[in-house]
Amino acid sequence: MNDYSGKGVLCVAEARHGKLSSCAFELLTAAKKIGAARGEPVWAAVLGDGESVKAAAAELASRGAERVFAAKHASLSEFLDEAYAAVLTGIVSKEKPRTVLLPATVFGRSLATRLAVAFKAGLAGDAIGLEVEGGKLVATRSCYAGNVIAGVSFKRAPEFATVRPMAFPRAEAGAAGKVEEWPVELPALKSEFVKFSADDSGEVDVTAADRIVSGGRGLGKPEGFEPLRRLAKLLGAAVGASRAAVDSGWIPYKHQVGLTGRSVRPRLYMACGISGQIQHLAGMNGSDTIVAINTDPDCPMMKLATYAVQGDVFKIVPALAAEIEKRRG
């Protein structure tokens, strides 16, 4: 239907407030895999303003992007769908990659839609796996709240896919790609960036969350929730609670999970110091992955959990937070 033909895998790196997101390195890993299967090069693009763009581009080049297109412009200092899409449309038109990978974040999802339409191309959202099968690119993704897995294959080029964060390991440094400054020309914009506020409430709503860190009687006091809040923040999770904790006045009712609170089915549910009264289990047992942290290895929650960690919540939770911080660098 179109006469687009191209070679190469382009990774669109997300850089927010001047800082390169590590998702970009995961995209590079996926891109290298596709590139190797097809014998095609791996490229990256990064947009922004100021010196940080150069640094980000250099980092992408060092982690395996043969060419990095670095677009620098005052109007690109914050993410604006229209402006970013205009620049990337220019890059794809000129460089003609066969495949374009973006992170499955608000940034990537927003941008991918504009690019796909600009090239009347297929777009596979939220890929958790990418394979080249008989020359065809197949993206694996989940749907129906994680109950079903599907393979989505591309019928023509260019191929656009958003890749779920954490789905691929991060590409390590060691290569020496080339950074190319991309000249930016922007059309008249119909949208404008007003401001960013880092998480104004500090809290994610339990019913809307896809990760929940929940605490129960085992926390012993209101302050017992502090380490959970820190972990939740790291995970982008909501803080939940069992009825016992809510009734003790340690945390407001809106956090209560269970038959008498809110029923939830997040991708990750971490039950910290919750033994698992049946009315609590009834409100969360549909969660994809359940982690229980408890001193009692025989309590119902530890039996139900995908991963049960026996031990003191006040030691395990901070240790896990530290471990995550360490891994993120």
Binding site: L259, T260, R262, Q277, I278, Q279, L281, A282
Partner: protein, 415 residues
């Protein structure tokens, strides 16, 4: 079961079910514990047009009959019998006005009850006059264009929240049952005040108040039908309203079974789901069978009642006459016996089913954390109010004997 509902009836069921699940279930425990009147939920039910499903369109209702009321009450009660009552109690005020009110009384009072702008209540009980309404002590004495009411009524559902009331006073204490009269009373009239608020075993979301009358002047236009017809008004109302209690009971039973079935499928003992034990299975089967039997009986009776009552309402509105007169003209049959039977059967079923549900859930079923014990507490009232089940049985038997006697007379006449 497919009960062949019309599109509107199915829509009533669907909307009431949505309200039950989305608006009642999350808050039922709060209102049960705090004994607060559930205004926000009543408001949702009002906005959904469910408060007037059984009232004629002329008065802002949806033009259905008692069956429509039963369908809504059943679905709302499936989440909480107390909150459902808070919304549906108005019908106990609207039905006597519809049945015995004049054209003017209907036009004055029914629209606000149909739209839910005002809540209605009904009160006949007194400390000394429960099942025996002839022992009524509160009086209304004629004084020119007014009646002057004095005395205390008790156990008035939605007592303080209501704004329109149907209340029974003795206008002629010497005449006993024949001295009883029914009046439409408005909140705020001088001399009409609220006494004690009761604390209850169940249906705690709905309030129950004592009403106190001290020289309260009731305009004579607010007398229903005529002096001395109080018992007629009460009995006629109960004939119409008992299926509503049956529906409330049925919803409570179904709600308890819904929760129990979910629980027994999840609960594991001896390494397996307790729903795999025959002891549990037989109880489940008995509960479901009794509920379905009660439902088909209730629906059959209330539809038969509507077939008699709805045309009389139509005729009364067209001719601007009271409905009881239109019923007389049409020779409408009154289903006193069957109406009583639905209340007895549905409420006894609800008590049995909810008790068994608590049993099936075991220890957790007895705990306030778990919703099943509340259904059991809520079920109990349905065996008691609007005529205790023993009184219902008296009436059923009395009707049976009367019917047998007249059948004999007819047979004798034929021979």
């Amino acid at each position: 079961m497919d009960y062949q509902l019309t599109e509107t009836q199915q829509a009533i069921v669907d909307i009431a079910r949505q309200i039950a699940v989305k608006k009642i279930k999350p808050v039922r425990e709060h209102y049960d514990e705090k004994e607060e009147f559930p205004w926000p939920v009543v408001d949702e039910i009002r906005k959904a047009d469910l408060l007037g499903v059984y009232l004629p369109e002329e008065y802002g209702g949806m033009g259905g009959g008692n069956f429509e009321l039963v369908l809504a009450a059943e679905q709302l009660s499936r989440a909480c019998g107390g909150i459902a009552l808070a919304a549906m109690t108005s019908s106990l005020c609207a039905l006597p006005i519809l049945l015995c009110g004049s054209d003017e009384q209907r036009r004055k009072y029914l629209p606000d009850l149909a739209s839910g702008k005002k809540i209605g209540a009904f009160c006949i009980t007194e400390p000394e006059a429960g099942s025996d309404a002839t022992a009524t002590k509160a009086t209304a004495v004629k004084d020119g264009d007014h009646y002057v009411a004095n005395g205390t009524k008790i156990f008035c559902s939605s007592g303080k929240e209501a704004e329109t009331y149907v209340i029974f006073f003795s206008t002629s204490p010497k005449r006993g049952a024949r001295g009883l009269s029914a009046f439409i009373v408005e909140k705020g009239w001088p001399g009409f005040e609220f006494g004690k608020k009761e604390t209850k075993m169940g249906i705690r979301a709905n309030s129950t108040y004592e009403l106190v009358f001290r020289d309260c002047r009731i305009p004579k236009e607010n007398l229903l039908r005529a002096e001395g017809y109080g018992l007629f008004v009460a009995q006629g109302t109960f004939d119409l309203s008992r299926p509503g209690v049956g529906a409330q009971a049925l919803g409570i039973a179904q709600g308890a079974l819904d929760e129990t079935l979910a629980y027994v499928r999840m609960r594991k003992q001896f390494g397996q789901s307790i729903s795999s034990f025959q002891g549990i299975q037989h109880m489940l089967a008995d509960c479901a069978t009794q509920i379905e039997a009660a439902r088909s009986f209730l629906y059959t009776v209330v539809r038969a009642m509507d077939r008699e009552f709805n045309p009389a309402v139509r005729k009364a509105i067209d001719e601007k006459t009271p409905v009881y007169e239109a019923m007389d003209k049409l020779g409408s049959r009154r289903w006193t016996k069957e109406s009583a039977m639905t209340k007895v059967f549905c409420s006894d079923t609800a008590m049995r089913v909810t008790t068994d549900c608590v049993q099936m859930c075991g220890g957790i079923g007895y705990m306030r954390d778990f919703p099943v014990e509340k259904f059991m507490r809520d079920a109990k009232i349905t065996q008691i109010y609007e005529g205790a089940n023993q009184i219902q049985r008296n009436e059923i038997a009395a009707m049976m004997i009367k019917e047998a006697a007249s059948a004999e007379k007819i047979a004798a006449g034929l021979a």
